[in-house]
Symmetry: C2
Amino acid sequence: MPSHRHPVELAKAYRLLNHGPTVLVSAAAGGRRNIMAAAWAMPLDFAPPKVAVVLDKSTWTRELLEDSGEFALQVPTRAQVDLTQALGSSSGRELVERDGADKFETYGLASFAVAETSAPLLEGCAAWLACRLLPEPAIQQRYDLFLGEVVAAWADARVFSKGRWHFEGHDALRTIHHVAGGHFLLDGDAIDARPLPGRT
Amino acid sequence: MPSHRHPVELAKAYRLLNHGPTVLVSAAAGGRRNIMAAAWAMPLDFAPPKVAVVLDKSTWTRELLEDSGEFALQVPTRAQVDLTQALGSSSGRELVERDGADKFETYGLASFAVAETSAPLLEGCAAWLACRLLPEPAIQQRYDLFLGEVVAAWADARVFSKGRWHFEGHDALRTIHHVAGGHFLLDGDAIDARPLPGRT
């Protein structure tokens, strides 16, 4: 493992998603694997940490996730913005059917495996969360909404440590926030709220 | 209504939340009203637009929302970061019991009413979404997760128009993303993904 990737304690794993970045969702089952972009993901609980993510019925990742009961969220960076858009607008199922090559092969992606999940993890991200599906068939079907418990998490220590993001000096690693149609907002400056004067 | 607040067509309302900002959640019932901060909110569907938001069992806003079946999300700005933190770390119920003044009175907040919801809307935000609760008692109880359909939306046209955020020249109106403990990241630069060379 690259030295920059460090474990994040589970009690602080929600902070990897708390600022609302666009994520990549990966899953694998039966020798197949896929990864897609999702802007609709958020923390759902602190301890144990849980997450929620919306996965359209058409997506192959959803099928693999339902088969395996596992998935990973990863937080892509500014350096991966073109890739993120490509992963969000192409179909792994179609690539495999047409070319016999999945997204990892088609886009030349480096991935790595961890003991905590069957989902492949993409190299170069700012953070990774290995998740166990919390089956809720009714809301999965009705709202395309999937819930998971985070079982392990890691971050690139150059930009996340001690429970805080710190992107200064690492612009290429800033996390990204999709608006629509391949248009993203980057993380900007950090700011600390001050107590309101004269209020309790 | 101030001239800067313009309606957002429902088909594009998801873009007000797609970049994952921290939101304020407001609701009113039986002559009582409250507003709280929530970092865990996201779009859930495009058309009709839906949203998901996590509301702890201890919150008064949740009680008012469950009573009225309605709530509003609003997207606060950099200028409101201290207020957002205060609204997220104080209890409207306790303020009323102790001082007889709710959060709007305690913090001197200007709010406005719209026909589409009973929830009070806070002046000075970058966007507002009036929502109708989609009752899902099991997940409300099990995960503190509330779903809603957006029935009307507005944005400050200085920073959101034609389906895009554009904060240049309006730093005080940049939306904010809570990390933890009153520490926020501001929206930064915009970036457009480019097609990956040689890929389809």
